[in-house]
Symmetry: C2
Subunit: 125 residues, 2 copies
């Protein structure tokens, strides 16, 4: 199935590009001119399939999406940590990658690492 370029996809992509944070559906929707909910989700899922973005599941179970910055086509580096602030709820990517070693016989497909707490803007004192 060959991808087609559409205004909706371009819009969602530009929104993802415009921020340095991982974004959830609502945040993206707010910045669009009424793109249907299902469509936004479908676009985001496509971006993940195509290696354009990656998905982070927050502690509450909500999905966030961020562009793959250090990924080349076919080669993905998703073993970095993410941080979600319990106050402003922003999700950001941390650069440092972590080393994952698995027991014998295990195969890794993906890693979702999320630290939650308070970001430097929201931390008390």
């Amino acid at each position: 199935m060959k991808r087609r370029n559409t205004p909706s996809k371009e819009k969602v992509l530009s929104i993802l590009k415009s921020q340095n944070y991982a974004m959830c559906h609502d945040t993206i929707a707010e910045q669009t001119d009424d793109i249907n909910r299902a469509t936004i989700y479908r676009i985001l899922n496509q971006f993940c399939e195509d290696g354009v973005a990656h998905r982070i599941t927050s502690e509450s179970g909500k999905q966030f999406f961020a562009l793959c910055k250090s990924c080349n086509a076919g080669e993905h580096h998703h073993n970095h940590l993410h941080f979600q602030c319990n106050s402003c709820e922003k999700v950001e990517c941390f650069k440092s990658e972590i080393n994952i070693s698995l027991p014998e016989g295990y195969q890794i497909e993906n890693f979702n690492g999320l630290i939650s707490g308070f970001c430097n803007s929201c931390a008390p004192n």
Copy 2:
């Protein structure tokens, strides 16, 4: 608010104890004799508050619960990784703790690290 001991709590606790895996609501419910859904969730949330169990959010956003084995009262060690098998969907705790270093001004409250892939029983070949 002082906790009371009830048959439901004992049952849920014994179920958690009986398995070496983190469990989700459904799996627990299957093993009980009709404890209400809301009740099970409330019990599990209490266990987390009280430091008896910890919560793992799976990639799909579903919550899993496991007993805190290496936690003393008041002192919790939750910066270990979890693994969920994409085939059998079991969630297990890995022992090794990971080292988390945060940027200046950030405060950590919790860590949810989940590797997904195939466990040694389900890995192809």
